[in-house]
């Protein structure tokens, strides 16, 4: 029916007596950026962890490319084509951009070379990938620790792209960034969508980041779907009201 790659239908999840998610539904489509917003404790992170396979939902359906998936473990979900970039980025500051991009799956020579690193090939591939993502301003041979927050975030995102996923989940990519660094990340997020990926972004930066860089805004409140907006037809106030649960959410059409 739609371009949906990943659909969640009626997902519920509780931890002990606490209901983290109740009957939540969400669709991610090819080439679209969806923002997931909500107040603290609204269930955003839990929902992302369900999608990335960290949490198994108590009930509801996880549908990927029109097949229902039994959420088993994060590695299986990642192999399937759903990559997650967590807030801590998991970069090694003492290694350069190329080394970080290929960490854990380096191209090497045969065993008798002691699995010698094929640095040149890695650098060429890294250069091509960064170029395609319009990230050529990133220095390949520079230690990641010496880079700006925006560049680090973008390297972490670019690394997830190397696995050729279909869906990318970004957990607060702009949380610790300046406005200009957040713009760099926003440009990359739009670039990913233009390449046909489905992107989900958690962000608190409604007025700038979310309104400017996403196609749709899904609002969670107290673990439930609270509202869904077209990013082009909504104001920041309307989104915030939906987040905190004001009656104004009803007025979104007006």
């Amino acid at each position: 029916m739609t371009d949906a790659i990943l659909s969640l239908r009626g997902i519920s999840k509780h931890f002990g007596g606490v209901k983290a998610l109740t009957d939540v539904s969400l669709e991610l489509e090819r080439g679209k950026v969806v923002a997931l917003v909500g107040d603290n404790g609204a269930g955003k992170s839990t929902l992302v962890k369900v999608m990335s396979g960290v949490h198994r939902p108590d009930s509801g359906k996880y549908i990927f490319e029109e097949r229902e998936i039994q959420v088993s473990d994060p590695a299986a979900i990642a192999d399937m084509g759903v990559q997650t970039v967590y807030q801590d980025l998991a970069l090694c500051n003492n290694l350069d951009a190329v080394q970080n991009l290929f960490l854990g799956r380096e191209m090497t020579g045969p065993w008798w070379t002691g699995f010698r690193l094929n640095r040149a090939e890695a650098e060429r591939k890294a250069r091509d990938v960064l170029k395609r993502l319009r990230l050529d301003s990133i220095s390949l041979r520079r230690n990641v620790g010496a880079m700006s927050g925006g560049q680090r975030q973008n390297i972490a995102i670019a690394r997830s792209i190397l696995w050729e996923p279909k869906v990318v989940l970004l957990d607060e990519p702009t949380a610790a960034l300046s406005h200009s660094a957040a713009e760099q990340v926003g440009a990359l997020v739009r670039e990913l969508a233009s390449h046909g990926l489905a992107v989900l972004v958690i962000s608190h930066d409604i007025h700038h980041f979310v309104l400017e860089n996403t196609d749709r805004i899904e609002v969670l409140r107290l673990g439930r779907n609270a509202a869904s907006f077209n990013s082009k037809e909504v104001t920041g106030e309307q989104v915030v009201n939906a987040m905190v649960g004001g009656n104004e959410a009803v007025n979104m059409a007006g």
Partner: protein
């Protein structure tokens, strides 16, 4: 649709930003400050003593630095993953006593006894590493305990006399052998050729990948530097006895271990784990296995260093391996690695640092000796040098972070 399908966009490539000197000093040129320091020490001592720059003295200095250097070499691997091994000196003691016992008591051929000693060191390191990764006890506690335990084992292994004499067993020949004449030249030229081939293959690979590649900077300069140093040492020692075997072994191990640390996937994993073990784990690196291997390498190197010391000193005794607690041998081995620019916090440093660190410690000791300075002053100077070296290193690191 994935990245691979995306048709290539024609974007004018922006030039890669140049990396500043301070940044380079923090990574691939990390050995330069300590090398300059070593050179300064050489100049200073050559003005203070006529004996210092003689072949005989430099021969002694180089051989003196090998045992500490080899132990420090293994230690670098453990330091890179952010751990420490305080049992390396004790390991060297036990391994050398075991080797001596096998030779003297059981009459086992020397190569086998040496192999058994080294294997024993690797097993000790691997067990420490397994314990540390399995239980999660800090490595300095585990290896401190293991060190004391090994001191006890060493005393148990030794006979009532407290000493195995290795004179005329053949073991003494390991350290006493010198390679001279045509064989020395073959060795040196062979080493330079291997290094040149490695640099060339790197250059070729970069050219094939259409990356910037400079023949002058990538091949000629590094090969010339290594060539001048190796040929220089050979010319200097040739008129004495030739190249001492401990030095050849040390340089050989240095070459192999530099390759392992800087060219292989295992080496890269060490650096990744040392900086961010959680990131390495999530990237699929088997963190525990790499750490255990690093401890095994440190143990094996320590054992080898101990065996070399036993060969030089013509025997093993209670004081092999630095005596109880590791003594000066342990402290100097750690100091050598740290002076050489290896961070105690993991993820930073080069294998060649062990060479420079060991040489600096040996040079200070040797030079001050020649100047007639008392032993207590030597300790003071070495201690100050350690603090100074680490401070300079930290300063460079800060500069690199700021740029």
């Amino acid at each position: 649709m994935t990245v691979s399908d995306i048709k290539k966009q024609n974007i004018t490539a922006t030039a890669q930003p140049k990396r500043g000197l301070s940044e380079r000093l923090g990574s691939e040129l990390r050995f330069v400050p300590v090398a300059v320091g070593l050179l300064a020490l050489f100049l200073f001592f050559s003005t203070q003593s006529d004996v210092f720059l003689t072949s005989r003295n430099l021969n002694n200095l180089l051989v003196q630095s090998t045992v500490t250097g080899i132990i420090a070499l293994g230690l670098v691997f453990v330091l890179l993953v952010g751990e420490i091994d305080l049992s390396v000196a004790a390991t060297s003691g036990v391994a050398s006593v075991l080797m001596a016992q096998l030779v003297v008591e059981a009459g086992i051929p020397i190569p086998l006894a040496v192999a058994a000693g080294v294997l024993c060191g690797m097993v000790i390191g691997a067990i420490s590493g397994r314990w540390i990764t399995l239980i999660g006890v800090p490595s300095f506690v585990v290896t401190l305990g293991v060190g004391l335990l090994l001191n006890g084992v060493q005393l148990m292994l030794l006979p009532r006399t407290g000493r195995y004499n290795l004179l005329n067993t053949g073991v003494e020949k390991i350290a006493a052998t010198n390679i001279s004449g045509i064989w020395a030249w073959i060795l040196v030229i062979g080493a330079i050729a291997v290094f040149a081939l490695l640099r060339l293959s790197t250059l070729r690979a970069r050219q094939r990948a259409e990356l910037d590649a400079s023949f002058t900077w990538g091949v000629i300069l590094p090969v010339a530097l290594v060539g001048v140093v190796l040929v220089g040492i050979l010319l200097f020692l040739e008129n004495l006895h030739g190249l001492p075997m401990p030095l050849i072994i040390f340089v050989g191990l240095l070459g192999v271990m530099t390759y392992v640390a800087s060219e292989t996937r295992f080496g890269l994993s060490l650096y990744a784990i040392g900086n961010n073990a959680e990131a390495a784990r999530r990237a699929g690196i088997k963190v525990d296995r790499i750490k255990i291997t690093a401890f095994a390498i440190a143990g094996g190197m320590a054992a080898f260093g101990g065996i070399l010391a036993a060969s030089r000193l013509l025997g093993v005794s209670v004081s092999s391996g630095g005596g109880i607690g590791g003594g000066a041998l342990l402290l100097e081995s750690i100091a050598a690695a740290v002076i050489g620019g290896v961070s105690l916090f993991g993820g930073r440093g080069m294998v060649v640092g062990a060479l420079f660190g060991a040489l600096i410690i040996a040079t200070v000791s040797n030079g001050l000796n020649l100047m007639g300075v008392a032993n207590e002053a030597r300790l003071v100077v070495t201690g100050l040098l350690l603090v100074l070296a680490v401070s300079i290193d930290r300063g460079i690191e800060r500069l690199a972070e700021r740029s």
